[in-house]
């Protein structure tokens, strides 16, 4: 197929498939790349992201793990120091809490402490759970914990293309990269380049343009923010929307430049608001674009309590596009009636589908 033709026929995948494709391509290209995970070789293949890999690459390169997260994270670090390039996957962020010591003390620091001699090329994939009442220990979006640690890189894709591209970028990186995949982003569909093109881990992507407000979102909340931005645009309010993508190292130049123009900032991320991702964005942008700010920057994040299981409680827990609209509308000084109109319309659309599942095809338990 000639290049032009290939480009003209976009290939639509969901992010889970894109991750699997990227993993397979990275493994074909470099025999040092291998996968470790609880369930990596099982019939469900970590939400479909590793399905089929063991058939192609064998159990030496797609390794089933014991339920021993700290141990096999250390094993991965040792292998990485010896030149291998492991990809680790945990089916929930929470399971990696057991491996914090290895990640924070060893993986993050060994390059630095060795004066740059050691390299720990490690990709750690963590999945954020959501929905179907899975409760407080299977739903945390703890990127702020990792993003605080010098020596780690931390990225969160929000699209199928980024899910593949950032994974490939992470595999190429010579240090440890934490890739946080929101479970609902696995369902995100879009054009994915069939070639294995690594995306550099170098900052946000602008998704919408406008002069009224700068909006910075992460991961799944980018999808909610897009919905909000489009609804607002229809009402004549245009925002610069940036998907943050890479939380550490944090490149904010484009966002600062945007705020210098818009004078306004709203952040929307998947974690708890307090001491969360939005706080850093607000603090840094405020320091750098203070004189341009025309309104107080606002943050949207999870409230300060664990995830409740019951639907009626989870409903209030997860902010959605109507809330984003309301916040932006407020920051830009839209008339209350205009805000309310959009909020009600979006809320009605959203209420038509169950709030605890990502997709109509989804039927519990996870």
């Amino acid at each position: 197929m000639p290049d032009a033709a290939r480009q003209s026929a976009p290939r639509i995948l969901d992010a889970a498939d894109a991750i699997r494709e990227g993993t397979a391509q990275a493994m074909r290209a470099d025999e040092r790349v291998f996968v470790m995970g609880e369930g990596a070789t099982d019939p469900k293949g970590v939400f479909g992201t590793t399905t089929g890999l063991v058939q192609e690459f064998g159990t030496d390169r797609v390794m089933e793990m014991p339920v021993a997260e700290n141990g096999w994270t250390g094993v991965a670090i040792g292998a990485a120091l010896c030149g291998q390039r492991p990809i680790l996957v945990h089916q929930r962020v929470e399971f990696s809490l057991l491996a914090m010591e290895q990640l924070v003390n060893n993986a993050a620091k060994i390059h630095y402490v060795s004066g740059g001699r050691h390299r720990a090329p490690l990709v750690v994939r963590l999945v954020v759970g959501r929905g179907w009442g899975q409760g407080p220990a299977h739903s945390q979006s703890l990127e702020a914990l990792f993003a605080h640690i010098p020596g780690l890189k931390v990225a969160m894709p929000s699209s199928a293309a980024d899910a593949k591209g950032l994974l490939l970028g992470a595999v190429q990186d010579d240090g440890p990269v934490i890739l946080i995949e929101h479970r609902w982003v696995h369902y995100a569909r879009g054009h994915v380049d069939p070639e294995p093109i690594a995306m550099p881990l170098d900052g946000p992507r602008q998704l919408r343009s406008g002069d009224d407000c700068t909006v910075v979102s992460t991961s799944y909340m980018t999808l909610e923010a897009l919905q909000a931005a489009d609804a607002l645009a229809a009402a004549g309010c245009n925002v610069d929307l940036f998907d943050l993508r890479v939380l550490r190292p944090l490149k904010l130049d484009a966002i600062v430049a945007s705020v210098r123009r818009t004078g306004r900032l709203v952040t929307v991320d998947t974690g708890h608001a307090t001491y969360g991702i939005g706080a850093e964005i607000v603090a840094r942008v405020t320091a750098e674009a203070f004189s341009s700010l025309r309104a107080a920057p606002q943050r949207i994040g999870l409230p300060e309590h664990p995830t409740p299981s019951a639907r009626t409680l989870a409903e209030a827990y997860y902010p959605r596009s109507p809330k984003i609209v309301a916040t932006i509308g407020d920051v830009v000084g839209m008339p209350k009636a205009a805000i309310d109109e959009i909020v009600h319309r979006l809320a009605a659309e959203r209420d038509a589908v169950p709030l605890d599942i990502p997709h109509p095809s989804f039927k519990g338990p996870f």
Partner: protein, 336 residues
């Protein structure tokens, strides 16, 4: 110095107890079957990990305990909770996410607890409950209570370092603690031989017991009386200050890992393995044994069944009728 081989302590199971063991297993089986039957309605919107096939482990162990003894369970906690006397209504309501659930709807199926019954907590993170159980045993020792604590865990949890840490702690302080390892041969869809080395010997887990200063018991998880008696010995030792025990129960999960269906079609278990274990079903086996011994006639069993069905229907009806927790309460009780 701990003797890690099974002591010759003899515990015998009388006839009423054997009947009660059966009834308790049958009740758990029927409750989980009803959950499975209704799960497709999508009104229990939380993950469920059913223990159909593993009832003898839950019942054989918990029947040897008192209400003041504390158990800690896992993601697969229904059986333990019920066997220990946990409130059925509070459990079903919790699965429905109702305000009347044991967690007020906040936890779902993996967080069952009941203070009145000595179900201290269930924890959805694998292995994470085990040291918590040891904390209950430590409390019994510190507060000079005559209680025993029990931690249930699976063959997957056995791989978690924290389980070894917890066992070492209990062994070092000779706590009134019993570690019940339910070996159902799988962690999710991964067989144990892909996750652990093969171990020789009659008592493959004796090394773990020796390492951590535990006495070792082992029982066929389809023989509820054997489980009950092995547990009974461990409880006697714990209560009289002879320190902790490991009890390994060989068992099998009939239904899917998470959810309410069968998952044998996924092909992760050898063909015929499930059938072999189903043939040794602990409920059916116990029924047959009781029948053979003349301890269970059809009328008695029918009465049992109908009482159980009534209780289950009531619990589901109550759950159905109960209110959901109000949205505004979500912010409450973050700090004690």
């Amino acid at each position: 110095m701990t003797d890690t081989t099974t002591t010759t302590l003899s515990v015998v199971t009388d006839e009423p107890t054997r009947l009660e063991l059966f009834r308790s297993m049958l009740r758990i089986r029927r409750i989980e079957e009803e959950i499975a039957r209704r799960y497709g309605e999508q009104r229990m919107r939380c993950p469920v990990h059913l223990s159909v096939g593993q009832e003898a482990a839950a019942v054989g162990t918990c029947s040897a305990l008192r209400p003041t003894d504390q158990i800690v369970s896992t993601h697969r906690c229904h059986g333990h909770y019920l066997a220990k006397g946990g409130d059925l209504r509070a459990m079903i309501a919790e699965l429905y996410g109702k305000a009347t659930g044991c967690c007020g709807g906040r936890g779902g199926s993996m967080h069952l607890f009941d203070p009145a019954a000595g179900v201290l907590a269930s924890v959805p993170i694998v292995g994470s409950n085990v040291p918590i159980g040891v904390g209950a045993a430590l409390t019994a020792k510190q507060r000079r209570r005559p209680d025993v604590a029990v931690a249930f865990f699976g063959d997957g949890a056995f791989e978690e370092g924290v389980v070894h840490e917890a066992a070492n702690f209990a062994g070092c302080h000779r706590l009134p603690m019993i570690f019940v390892l339910e070996n159902n041969l799988y962690s999710v869809y991964t067989p144990v031989d892909q996750r652990q080395p093969a171990r020789a010997g009659e008592q493959p887990m004796a090394g773990f017991a020796q390492t951590h200063g535990l006495a070792a018991e082992h029982a066929d998880g389809n023989d509820v009386v054997a489980v009950h008696e092995a547990m009974g010995r461990a409880v006697v030792r714990a209560r009289r200050g002879d320190g902790p025990s490991l009890l390994v129960v060989d068992t099998y999960r009939f239904l899917e890992h998470c959810g309410a269906s069968d998952d044998d079609h996924l092909g992760y278990r050898p063909v015929g393995e499930l059938a072999t274990w189903r043939d040794r079903c602990p409920v059916a086996g116990t029924r047959a044994a009781l029948r053979d011994a003349g301890l269970l006639d059809v009328a008695t069993e029918l009465a049992m069944e109908s009482a159980i069905v009534r209780e289950i229907d009531e619990a589901f009806a109550a759950a159905d009728a109960a209110p959901y927790p109000a949205a505004h309460t979500a912010m409450e009780a973050v700090h004690a």
